[in-house]
């Protein structure tokens, strides 16, 4: 019998994939992250409190797995080439070459944000979560969410509105 838990889990996958893509900058890596998150969610299904928000719980799992991987990355010293990651949207993004280049620049700029700003941006500006929901996922006061978001956006606007250096 398919449980409500499983249905909710699968229903969240599209959003989780987009969130993971925003965090990692790579569709493939993002999907691996989501897969790992699903495995963890299934293993810890008994820890999920019925009646609470499944999507918040899942986003938090993705977030934690991502932060873990970033920590491991730092100590290992190998980095994904941001240029490569930014350009790859598997050809599925925008249509015109100049649009695709702009979107690649967007992804690159997001990839250069500090982790904490990237997280907030991914939840609010990309997933479209409310400030309150994002605050709940991140375990932060709403004010902190707002200030990190604003800093991220100010930075991105500045970088992206400048003409590309030739």
């Amino acid at each position: 019998m398919t449980t409500g838990f499983e249905l909710d889990l699968v229903a969240s996958i599209p959003r989780l994939r987009r969130f993971a893509y925003a965090l990692t900058g790579s569709v493939h890596e993002g999907d691996e992250l989501v897969q790992a998150a699903c495995e963890r969610a299934l293993r810890n299904a008994d820890r999920f409190q019925q009646g609470t928000r499944m999507d918040s719980w899942l986003f938090r799992i993705v977030q934690n797995l991502w932060l873990d991987s970033k920590r491991r990355e730092r100590t290992r010293g190998d980095q994904i080439d941001p240029e490569m990651a930014a350009l790859s949207d598997e050809g599925l993004g925008a249509r015109r070459p100049e649009d695709r280049m702009m979107l690649a620049r967007v992804r690159q700029a997001v990839g250069e944000l500090p982790n904490e700003q990237r997280l907030v941006l991914a939840l609010v500006a990309i997933d479209g979560m409310s400030y309150r929901d994002a605050a709940e996922v991140l375990g932060l006061p709403i004010g902190t969410v707002m200030s990190r978001l604003s800093r991220a956006r100010t930075h991105l606007c500045r970088i992206l509105e400048e003409p590309r250096p030739q």
Partner: protein, 242 residues
Amino acid sequence: MSTHIDPELLSAYVDGELAPDEVGRVEAHLPSSPEARVMVERLRRLNARLAAAYDAPHRAPLPPALHRSVASASPRAWRHRWWTAAGIAMAASIVTLAMFLGLRSNEPATDGLAPGRLDRGSALHALLESEPSGATATLDSGAATLLSSFLDDEARPCREVEIIGDAAGSRTQAVACRNDASWTVEFAISGVSGPAESRDAFVPASGAGDAAFRAALHTLGAGPVLGPAEEEDLIDSGWQLR
């Protein structure tokens, strides 16, 4: 009014997160502040770009690793269905994800049940092509029994096969469909629990694999099970529909 614009306030305004009275104050301020208007425009443009920049997962089919556990079904069966109710009904597949992640190979199917076109010389192909439901054959992977025949939503003949493996308790339910005179395994779900004697592919049974199987059938657009006479006609005619 001061010319200092609070970026946080404008950010919240563009996100629709301000209380109505705050919205009123911002909008009263905007006409007199070109700087604020530019900022609002930039924020909106950035939002649009962010949405487009991370669009790819929604436009791409679900990658094999995420649905391999249910069935590495043919792209056609999955492509437009994932976001629909039927796709979401595949939820059961997620439970089995942990069970057999990484166990499915991508090799072309012979007698094995990896999805894909079957070798015409294989025992399974011969079984599908010529035998009525209820017939069995011994494959490398175990004992196969034909359970039912039906047409999918493109009027392709399809057949449900159950394979009891040599490994204890291993039971696989698969569906193969006939294209251009050869059979292709559309999906195969392992670890399906429940009684093995059910001939009706649609009978609910316990276990997440069964729910996944039902959902996969739904996605295929499986029609009703064909009766024995209909099935016999089809087999005799070489699976030609009149």
